[in-house]
């Protein structure tokens, strides 16, 4: 058997490739921010330059476990860098301004649980923003950079913990490395899961808790209390950070406890049922005592998902088109990109039966293997949810957790041992290419095609900086409107008003600001002004850009041919008695409705 080569020697050129790949991604984004319409292939070439050398090395037999660990950490951090170089130093993903607002509020008022006008449930789960506030208050960093450091550290620990978890369960560093590489192909890994949002912290801790439970399983009985410390701390941190992750952890641990019982026919140590119960009780207590608004937040989402599944399955509602955005102006995903995404899913599906068969044959007495197998099958069930419009998001979120099991099962299929025409290097190259397809295809499936590259929020003109209309509004509001005044606006404007504008802005349907802004005239019943007054809204922001209602696209500069909403919808506020337009930048106007009577 070949002796493992010294770690650093192999790592140096791979790290160089990762650095150059990241630079290529930054270059592709810089062209896109200049509106030069670069070919997306530049971005994917950068991503593959990062990933393929790592994949190729991970498939080798002679890398040491330490080197494989370093490689998966390098993969995780480099791919996180791809998200960072997309839009630094401004938050441009839909959930980021919401959480940045919470973090800014904590730093400004020195306390948690403050009000969030768009997602009221988020202040009740302050783990991410609380952690970010530590770096913000100690160093003076902005919420963007402090958040980037926290999420980066979380990503690093997730990659390492995944590797250690898979290695413990598979007893193979090679399988573990490849499983982590497959996990990087989960649909949300490149972009959505890397944003400054509570799940970006809770999911890594979730993985660490699983790793700790797997380690505890192999330790002697007298180590039980030792492992209880990281497990209990991790569970507690998840409960205060993210609702769905805490419920997913309770469900996962309950399933694991059942798997232990199935394998060993007893509930005694090391069956983790106590941790499942602890998680459930803690999550329920937090829900009741601190975060009772979560029920009102999650029940319509989950209820809508069930209803959509039923309606789609019964033929009452048409299925959701894959790779399609909500608006007609959103460019379609090219055929080649769609094919790549479908090929990625196809490769995973093709490997699944082999993985399940091998695991059933060799490892079915391992509880973790059983639960991973169930998760892998469940992943493909959740793919069906993508066809039901309101269930899409539920399936998408569940996928991040279930992909842990899928990655392990697919890696266990043994494809890495395949030697094409007795030439192992060719086989490794083919497997690396397949992993590349899974990575790129997953990213395409998980994030709209037209948003893979950045759009400009700021631009250089004659040596100075100019801002996009919503960003200029946010900067103006921060400098000119008192912090306790409230705005009602479109979804995109509201998010930038919250961060970096640091102002309270309502948007969307609850309260129904969206209809107030988009209707061509006020209703005869006159419900609009009472609703605005009831919510303390003094300033109404009108935006003629149709894209202002899009929380992922509405932040950028306009270009020629911008689609606009009817003028009556924006001008109707000028007819309100006592309302005055105090701000205008052409597309965006602010009306002052006057102080509360």
């Amino acid at each position: 058997m070949a002796r493992p080569r010294p770690t650093v020697r192999a790592l140096a050129p791979i790290a160089l490739c990762a650095g150059l790949g990241l630079l290529l991604c930054a270059y592709a984004n810089s062209l896109s921010r200049q509106l030069l319409d670069p070919n997306s292939l530049l971005l994917w070439a950068g991503v593959l330059l990062i990933a393929l050398p790592i994949f190729y090395r991970l498939t080798s037999r002679d890398a040491s476990p330490g080197e494989r660990l370093a490689l998966v950490c390098l993969l995780g951090l480099s791919l996180y860098g791809v998200k960072l170089v997309r839009d630094a130093p401004l938050f441009a993903f839909s959930d980021e301004p919401i959480h940045a607002f919470n973090a800014d509020q904590i730093v400004a008022y020195h306390h948690l649980f403050r009000f969030n006008p768009i997602l009221p449930v988020t202040p009740s789960y302050p783990g991410l923003e609380g952690a970010t506030s530590a770096l913000m208050t100690i160093t003076g960093l902005s919420s963007y950079w402090a958040g980037a450091v926290i999420v980066g550290a979380a990503r690093l620990s997730m990659m390492a913990a995944l590797f250690l978890l898979f290695r413990r369960v598979s007893d193979s560093a090679r399988t573990a490395g490849i499983a982590v590489a497959i996990y990087a192909g989960n649909f949300n890994f490149l972009y959505w899961g890397a944003q400054f949002s509570y799940e970006s912290l809770s999911l890594p801790i979730f993985v660490v808790v699983l790793m700790a439970i797997a380690e505890r399983d192999t330790a002697p009985r007298e180590w039980a209390r030792t492992w209880a410390v990281p497990i209990v701390l991790g569970i507690s941190a998840i409960v205060v950070t993210h609702h769905l992750t805490s419920y997913a952890l309770a469900a996962f641990l309950a399933g694991l406890a059942l798997a232990y019982w199935l394998v060993r026919r007893n509930w005694s140590w090391p069956n983790p049922w106590r941790y499942a119960a602890f998680t459930a009780v803690l999550a329920f207590a937090w829900l009741l005592v601190v975060a009772n608004s979560t029920i009102g937040y999650l029940s319509p989402v989950l209820g809508g998902a069930f209803e959509a599944i039923f309606n789609t399955a019964s033929g009452e509602a048409p299925p959701r088109g894959l790779f399609q955005g909500k608006g007609t102006e959103i460019p379609p995903t090219p055929i080649l990109a769609r094919s790549m995404a479908l090929l990625a899913v196809g490769l995973l599906a093709a490997a699944l039966p082999f993985g399940l068969w091998r695991l059933w044959k060799h490892s079915r007495n391992q509880p973790f293997v059983l639960i991973f197998g169930v998760a892998a099958i469940a992943f493909f069930v959740t793919l069906g949810l993508r066809l039901a419009p309101a269930a899409w998001e539920t399936g998408n979120r569940a996928g991040e957790f279930l992909f842990i099991g899928l990655a392990f099962v697919v890696a266990s299929a043994g494809a890495q041992n395949w030697a094409l025409r007795n030439r192992p290097r060719l086989g490794r190259a083919a497997i690396s290419a397949a992993l590349g397809v899974v990575l790129v295809g997953g990213a395409i499936a998980g994030w709209p095609w037209d948003l893979q590259l950045a759009s400009p929020l700021r631009a250089r003109a004659e040596g100075r900086t100019i801002s996009s209309p919503p960003l200029a509004l946010a900067d103006w509001a921060r400098e000119n409107i008192p912090g306790d005044e409230r705005f009602g606006s479109n979804i995109a404007d509201a998010r930038l008003l919250m961060a970096p504008g640091e102002r309270i802005a309502f948007a969307g349907k609850n309260p129904d600001i969206q209809d107030i802004l988009l209707e061509l005239a006020f209703s005869k019943e006159g419900w609009e002004m009472p609703l605005l007054r009831e919510n303390g809204v003094r300033y109404v922001v009108t935006d003629s850009r149709d894209i202002a209602s899009d929380s992922t696209r509405g932040y950028t500069f306009s270009e020629d041919g911008e689609v606009t909403i009817p003028r009556q919808a924006t001008l109707k506020f000028a007819e309100l008695p006592g309302a005055t337009r105090i701000y205008s930048n052409g597309e965006v106007s602010v009306y002052d409705l006057g102080a509360q009577p």
Binding site: L16, A26, G81, V149, L201
Partner: protein
């Protein structure tokens, strides 16, 4: 443990006193993202042996968990969540856990021994530095504001009351977000008669703010103000218009 006991207070003080954010981060990152978890793992595994990889992963993850839970603790502490209170909390966690580890370990070292790392040769060192340089270049490029000629420029016009004037004065601001230097004509009509005119040129990103008022009117009465911005190149069309009011002050 001794190094940790000295290092944590040093990092806390240096991070709080450092004049620049980046320098402060260099000290705050180990204090917040490594030391609490390292100390907790050292205390928990004082009598067990844990390999370096698991020790490192748990150190970072439990540090993050400490930060998430620590904010909930600080929320109920007098003074709340501030830089100093965070530093004190993290020091308490680190020093308390380090002390526990020292008491529990019975002379045995819990911290894993670092494996010996081979020195890089010149080529490998060059590659590693190249990787670092490329990463830094990527981040710098990403943070650099670049020209976007096809982005549509615009200009902001606003009117807001001067906060300390009781509504008798207002600020009228113009900020250019245009792609090129532009000449403007601003007209401000106070009530029905008085018209103030200003002509000026703004480069992209430049702004100009004028203060108007107090109005000449009976005390306490509100006087309408309309500000109209015209492009010098197209003076027949209104480019921007905003309105507000001024309140005539009480006579002293």
């Amino acid at each position: 443990m001794r190094r940790l006991a000295w290092g944590a207070p040093f990092c806390a003080i240096a991070a709080l006193l450092a004049p620049w954010e980046l320098v402060s981060l260099i000290f705050a990152a180990p204090l917040a993202l490594v030391m609490p978890g390292y100390a907790i793992v050292s205390a928990a595994f004082a009598r067990r042996e844990l390999d370096p990889a698991r020790f490192a992963v748990l150190s970072v993850a439990l540090s993050l968990a400490t930060l998430a839970l620590g904010s909930v603790v600080l929320n109920y502490v007098p003074g709340g969540i501030r830089g100093v209170s965070w530093a004190v909390l993290l020091l308490l966690v680190v020093l308390g856990s380090a002390r526990t580890a020292a008491l529990r370990r019975d002379g045995k070292s819990a911290a894993p021994r670092g494996s010996r790392i081979r020195r890089l040769n010149h080529v490998e060192l060059g590659m590693a530095l190249g990787a670092l340089s490329a990463t830094i270049a990527a981040l710098v490029l990403a943070s650099t504001t670049l020209p976007a000629k096809d982005a549509l420029g615009f200009t902001e016009l606003w009117i807001v009351p001067v906060p300390e004037s009781g509504g008798s004065e207002a600020r009228i601001g113009v900020r250019s977000e245009e792609q090129a230097a532009t000449e403007f004509d601003l007209g401000v009509r106070i009530d029905k008669g008085r018209l103030i005119r200003r002509s000026f040129r703004l480069a992209p990103g430049e702004s100009r703010v004028f203060t108007i008022g107090p109005p000449v009117a009976s005390a306490g009465s509100a006087v309408p103000v309309v500000a109209t911005l015209l492009l010098d190149s197209d003076p027949r069309h209104v480019y921007r218009r905003v309105s507000g009011s001024l309140v005539a002050p009480e006579a002293r």
